[in-house]
Assembly symmetry: C2
Homo-oligomer: 206 residues x 2
DNA sequence: CGTTCTATTAATAGATCTATTAAATTGATT
DNA sequence: AATCAATTTAATAGATCTATTAATAGAACG
């Protein structure tokens, strides 16, 4: 917050808001706090973003897209299916690792206010459909070949999602709870990353 | 809320609070709302529970214990390990299914305020230790026999926990999002329950 | 130099929320 | 019926939060 005198206030406010929303969620964060964090008057927050809700929306959509990104643009290449899958799991994992507070923000806000997703629903569905169908086709091919048990792509995605997300949802809490030091925690994450890949691959066996 | 004229107000307030906290979390629920839901004056909420925070604590601890209960008192019998495991997964699943909003409440509150766990930490650790050790011993025995790959009890629990919890964290949102009808949603849950058992069992294979 | 425009602040209206206090009500007991 | 404790309410203090408005400072420009 020192050398950004150049950066315009509009951007600083957005960044301050993002930080605070990620830490404490929408309702626990006040525009006064955001202004303090951004280093400006509280009225300025409203000057640029009109309402606290609009400010949140600006952040929410970006974060949501980022969160499901790996389920979109992964497969351009023609790696064998299993390699695709591993890549998908790991890139989803890495993405959350870099934004470990995002799952909290999304779950928290969507739980309280599911309509927040409404504007995104159709857009995302369309964007994902092609990718899902492609992945599903590959999966079904593998199943026909007898390499995997009969499983739907939805179930597969759900498993990946569950394992990766919960790790960080609970991990953040676990870390603060056990006062685990940084290195130990990172080792734990890395271990779970390998574990998650293994579990998903095993889950395809009969 | 009709035939509980007999029930005392203290209890009604607790129940109203529980309902609202589960729906909207701590910070989004006001004591005024709780009073309205309970059918009494707002001051009465404070009369019985002094502060909103104390009222929350009374609910939080109960819910938290309930949430981790299956990881405690399951194993008295001497079923084979795999049967134990299946029973554990399924009873954890069923418990959350009956209290589908509890994971949200716990994650949400612990995220924002991890110190909430502090008073419970030691007690729970002690209570769980014996069970964990017993389960771990059984697991290690199976590993020595060559039935399972080398895996820690922590990893195993983490997997069970992830699969079961995320289903309901995301499921609640999914249900509201897709306007899935009750039957479809229940079928989906039942399917995932079987799936979760399968995934966990598979995850033990080499 | 005065005007105009943008960014920013100070001040505040209006709503709401928690907690307290004092008064009213109820119901049991003498 | 009078008394007393427990329950419940009305009223409100005091804090805080969102949003708006009016004032100000400084850059840009003719």
């Amino acid at each position: 917050m020192e050398n950004d005198d150049i950066k315009n206030m509009e951007q600083s406010i957005l960044e301050a808001a993002e930080k605070l929303f990620l830490d404490k969620g929408f309702s626990m964060t006040s525009t006064t706090e955001i202004a303090r964090e951004a280093g400006c008057n509280q009225a300025l927050v409203h000057y640029y973003y009109r309402t606290k809700d609009k400010l949140f929306e600006a952040i929410f959509e970006r974060k949501f897209r980022k969160f499901v990104e790996p389920f979109l643009n992964t497969i351009q290449s023609d790696l064998p299916f299993e390699k695709h899958l591993i890549y998908l799991i790991e890139s989803h994992f890495d993405l959350i690792k870099e934004n470990p507070k995002v799952p909290f923000l999304l779950f928290n806000e969507l739980w309280i206010n599911p309509s927040r997703l409404e504007p995104l629903r159709m857009k995302l569905a369309l964007e994902h459909q092609a990718y899902f169908e492609k992945l599903d086709k590959e999966l079904q091919k593998e199943i026909k070949k007898g390499n995997y048990r009969n499983i739907s792509i939805i179930d597969l995605m759900m498993t990946i999602f569950s394992l990766n997300v919960t790790l960080f949802l609970a991990g953040q809490i676990l870390q603060e709870m056990t006062k685990m030091d940084e290195d130990t925690y990172n080792a734990f994450l890395l271990h779970r990353k390998k574990e998650n890949v293994l579990i998903v691959l095993n889950s395809l066996q009969a």
